[in-house]
Amino acid sequence: MALLEVKNIKKHFGKTEVLKDISFSLDKGEVLAIIGSSGSGKTTLLRCINFLETPQAGVIAVGDEVLFDGSDPAKKKDKEIRKNRLHFGMVFQQFNLFPQYTVYENLILAPKLLAKEKLKAGETYMGESSYRAAVDKIKEEAEQLLEKVGLTEKRDEYPCNLSGGQQQRVAIARALALNPDVLCFDEPTSALDPELTGEVLNVIKGLKSSDSTMIVVTHEISFARDVADKVIFMADGVIEEEGTPQQVIENPQSPRTQAFLSRFNRFSD
């Protein structure tokens, strides 16, 4: 059974149809790369999955829990949406770290707020039922995450003192701190200098080996080919082609995919 099921998502802004009936599914531990030219709807799709945009129609389900159903208004309530967002983590193109907090504080801010809220409601957080114990656990995990993204020594720096690549690695750790089921990346290296993209891509590669389920919207075709289990090529709001990297990137069938990839294939080995 698929971990993430996305069915018949439709989204339009005014008269512009951005997503025309998008469906796909993703198994646990799989990495999905979404490629396609600008304006093809990749980012909007990712934003719909994270409930930053509300699709007009469609279903989003994680496991056997339906998180969004375009025909069910009860699923569009703020409180419901906020809870559902926690199934997903999101890493933005522009990092969006909180500038007034240190790296470490960026990591623990949201988990602490969530722990407080859950314990107040009589639930547990990470198996802990006292706030102090929960915070200890959050802190411990934050240190581990910093180590994972290789930024332990930057723990007490403010984001403005970090390079773009380091900031993006903090953003990845921050998203992981809430233990999402699916981690989404919206062009995570597009705002970075070419020499900094490698360190971010390496962190994402490292996450794959630790079995995280991920969706990566990217222009890094070679990265998609090497890391993804599944590739979707989007054009004009539809999935033009989908399959393994071997199928979609090395042997594309649709003329549009071929045209998009021709530039890449010409330069690659």
Partner: protein, 214 residues
């Protein structure tokens, strides 16, 4: 009339300026925040109404507003406001309108990505405002607020127009009674010292918030 007596008399007057200054700040800042929320509201009629009020307040002289607040209730409703109370009301409304625009600018300047980052981390709107956005807004509005607050202490002397016994009125009375002119110019010293202190205070706040950028 010797120097010490004048200094003392003027100081009494300046006490009124300071009191008006403090009361205005205390009330105009929260009221300004409420007005800024109104002018950013998604409810169109509320937004239009708030922005119209702000336009009227910012578009007419404070001196005129002082007279309106003090004389109109007496003329039409036979309500006699105390002079100082009328001054406080006029100042609070006037400064709240200016503050609201500073707050609006500060809040709207925060990148959308800050809110979105909060949302995807499961934070509530109120948590995002208080834990993420607010300090960034404070940092952005420190300089314009400093300007406005320095203007406020000097503006308090406008209350003279409805005969609040503030420093300038006190000085004018001394000038008229004793036929000496220097006390009028001497009032400038009080304002200079007060504004100097404010400038230092705001420099300190800006320095305190200088530990991060963005």
């Amino acid at each position: 009339m010797d120097f010490l007596t004048v200094t003392n008399e003027l100081l009494k007057g300046f006490g009124q300026n300071c009191l008006l200054f403090a009361l205005t700040l205390l009330m105009a800042i929260p009221l300004g925040l409420v007005i800024s929320m109104g002018s950013m509201s998604r409810i169109a009629p509320l937004k239009v109404f708030t922005r119209t009020v702000v336009w009227i307040i910012r578009g007419t002289p404070l001196m005129l507003q002082l007279m309106v607040v003090f004389y109109l209730p007496a003329l039409f409703f036979e309500v006699n406001l105390e002079r100082f109370h009328a001054a406080v009301i006029a100042f609070v409304i006037n400064y709240a309108a200016y503050f609201s625009e500073i707050f609006r600018g500060g809040i709207e300047a925060i990148p959308k990505g800050q809110y979105e980052a909060g949302y995807v981390l499961g934070m509530k709107k109120s948590q995002i405002f208080f834990k993420v956005v607010l300090l960034q807004v404070v940092k952005r509005i420190t300089a314009p607020m400093g300007n406005e607050i320095i203007t406020l202490i000097k503006d308090t002397s406008l209350a003279r127009i409805i005969y609040v016994a503030e420093m300038l009125l006190t000085a004018e009375n001394i000038v008229a009674q004793k036929v000496i002119v220097w006390p009028l110019f001497y009032t400038g010293v009080y304002f200079l010292v007060f504004c100097g202190a404010l400038t230092l205070l705001f420099r300190f706040i800006e320095k305190k918030l200088d530990y991060y950028k963005g």
